[in-house]
Amino acid sequence: MIDKVISLEEAAALVPSGATVSIGGFTSQRHPTALLRALVRRGVKDLVVYCHSAGSDVDLLIGAGCVRRVEAAYLADGVFAPIAPNWRRFVEAGRLEFEDYSNAAMMARFSAGAMGLPFFPVRSMLGTDLLEKEGLPAEVRRTDPTAAPKKAAVIDCPFTGEPVVLVPAIRTDLCLLHVQRASPRGLLRIEGQEFLDVQQALAADRVIVTCEELVDDEELRREPERNRIPPFAVHAVVPVPFGAHPHSVHNYYDYDPRHLALYAEAARSDEAFRAYLDRFVFGPADHAAYLEAVGGPEHLDTLRARSGLGYNPELRRRP
């Protein structure tokens, strides 16, 4: 029996500065935020982050100065932050390398990485500036081994002659996921939408998973049709209840409107965001202390999902 269970701090220590990392989830759903806060506390730098529709997960890393480059389709936090605030501020000030793709293109890039292909064709981005304009300077593309030599290429299909867009594969050092349940051996159970977690995991050398609950391997093997990532592809498992807060975890809890609104406000300036980090990332000694800082059990109970719905229908999303 291979036990892959480690602590949050041990997991964060597996992510070195300069690593290429993909982060699972989608806008305000199921991001491994407890692990990301642990990375910020460690002072990780120069990460190259690949995502599709990210939210305040990647935005937190950007604002904390952990990121060298983001390759993404979208960064926003629903109605709370229609544009991820640190992302916006850093790009406008020229403080971040970035490359824009569409979501289908990012899906294709992760799929190629997962399949061991050098590229994947898509039918979108023709006639757009996503194809025409590169965010990464030629110098970076030439000298940085983490950068694809070219953003995309258009070829005529060898069979039909139609133009198709080829996008380069993504292979990352690490993929960080948060899921509902995992076994100590690294078998995962994702409930609700998978987003792109399966492809992101299989495009990575190492997968680190935080989970709401640690469960018996045999329990998950009873329904193998619901398991999509082979346990031997998973390197480490960290049980972290409320480990995606302030984001939602289907069947467990909803996103936290109070905290997302507070985050969106704080991330609008360097000074306010520094205060946010002091209060919620550097201040709390551990994840339990973080949960106290955001409101404690009484507040977290107001987020709990109702059985059969997967979210909290009573949640007030407007103040």
Partner: protein, 256 residues
């Protein structure tokens, strides 16, 4: 006198009316969700919603705040992922109509949701394409929803995130894009459509109380006003459903 409905409510109703019964609808965050939920509860009970994060054909009870929300899964036919939504459903040609928003919309319905000014050092950086570029290229047709101000309706967008009719005429097809294209632009002032051959824009209707000339003043490209009618106002029933069933909390309605 206080208006009986807000501009945002009128836009939602106008957008909902673009959906036909039985269609498969790719709904993005915000007004499109309200429009699709309203259409399901009025004239198009058989329309099917698809969300890019994986929710397919839900029977939604509560308005989601984004396309990845758990609220897009209630009673759903499938909880899938981006692979299914983009590859099989959208690129596979199974989406009839997609809704798109954007910061800028130009003469030929091209949309910018990326950046204003210089791309690398923009004056304003937006969220980015998400799935919008894909929907614009691959849905059977698209409906664009936008705030109508002259600076937001330039002759050419600063960055073309999502392709409309490109440069007009047959330029969309020449770019290699199969089918699709914008059918309507529902704005805060009216509804713009495009001539079948030239793809030149014309004002199909101005909202109640808005003179067509005012729409031209607020538009940075020439707009044919010759056929402009008046956007039919929301019915009492549509407003009731919108306010009490679709968005009783005012998640999006109160923001506008």
């Amino acid at each position: 006198m206080k208006a009986a409905f807000s501009t945002f409510e009128l836009m939602t109703v106008a957008a909902a009316r673009e959906i036909r019964d039985g269609e498969v609808v790719f709904a993005g965050t915000g007004l499109p969700m309200l429009a699709a939920m309203l259409a399901q509860r009025t004239h198009a009970p058989g329309c099917v919603l698809v969300f890019e994060a994986g929710g397919v054909d839900p029977r939604m009870l509560h308005l989601p705040m984004s396309v990845g929300d758990s609220r897009t899964l209630t009673g759903a036919a499938m909880a899938a992922g981006l692979m299914e939504a983009f590859t099989y459903l959208l690129q596979g040609g199974r989406i009839d109509v997609g809704f798109l928003g954007g910061a800028q919309v130009d003469r030929y319905g091209n949309i910018n949701s990326t950046a204003l000014g210089d791309y690398l050092r923009p004056s304003v950086r937006f969220s980015g394409s998400g799935g919008a570029a894909d929907v614009a290229a691959l849905a059977g047709r698209t409906v664009i929803i936008a705030r109508h101000e002259r600076r937001r309706f330039p002759e050419r967008v600063d960055y073309r995130t999502s392709p409309g009719w490109i440069e007009g005429g047959d330029s969309r097809a020449r770019a290699g894009i199969r089918g699709g294209g914008p059918a309507a632009v529902v704005t805060t002032l009216g509804v713009i459509r495009f001539r079948p051959d030239t793809k030149e824009p014309y004002l199909a209707s101005a909202h109640p109380g808005i003179p067509p000339e005012h729409v031209q003043t607020e538009t940075g490209f020439p707009l044919d006003l010759s056929e402009a009618g008046e956007t039919p106002p929301p019915t009492r029933e549509e407003l009731e459903i919108l306010r009490t069933t679709v968005d009783p909390e005012g998640v999006f309605l109160k923001r506008h």
